[in-house]
Point group: C2
Chain length 109, copies 2
């Protein structure tokens, strides 16, 4: 039987794997912003995602990084500058975001 692997997690179906990778209260919103902007700084992400706490934002960024969807670039300046961007694998998830956004727009009031 075919298997799918992300990090050290193994799944029996691609939907299960994908579901696991994007599961998180703010992950899709993070990916959505990064899909529109080439790269974004931590502080900028924080401002753009209303209500996200610093803890959750950094936690989700770490997980997305570990799963290979985004990369973190640290510029050794003072004050520090950190930029996040989609990786190649991350860019390949953009069609999902686009379709999802379109679906969500059905619920506009």
């Amino acid at each position: 039987m075919e298997k799918y692997k992300l990090g050290d997690k193994v799944f029996d179906c691609p939907v299960g794997l994908a579901s696991n990778a994007i599961n998180g209260k703010w992950k899709l919103q993070i990916l959505n912003l990064l899909s529109q902007e080439e790269c974004m700084r931590y502080g900028n992400l924080k401002r753009r995602i209303e209500d996200v706490s610093e803890k959750m934002l950094i936690q989700h960024l770490r997980e997305l990084e570990q799963d290979g969807l985004i990369e973190r670039k640290l510029y050794p300046e003072v004050p520090p500058r950190v930029e996040y961007a989609l990786t190649e694998v991350g860019r390949q998830i953009i069609p999902v975001i686009v379709a999802l956004k379109q679906w969500g727009q059905l619920f506009r009031i």
Copy 2:
């Protein structure tokens, strides 16, 4: 500012709403199965989704029903027969599933 509403939950962006609707350990897998099969019985879903417990399956089915993505048809027979199927709104999320599945296949081993 535009708003998006699902049930009694209001969101500022369509991605946030969509994210909320599909957030759940097995929801995308349920939607995936229903997208391929026209309709499916409870017991069949349970067999097809490995490891899901009866509690979680029914809970997710209820939430998807409340959010208007699926509908539940009870046939008053003995033993009882219950069929689940995508609604029109549910069918409109199929492109998301398709894109997600394609993305997940990148991780085949």
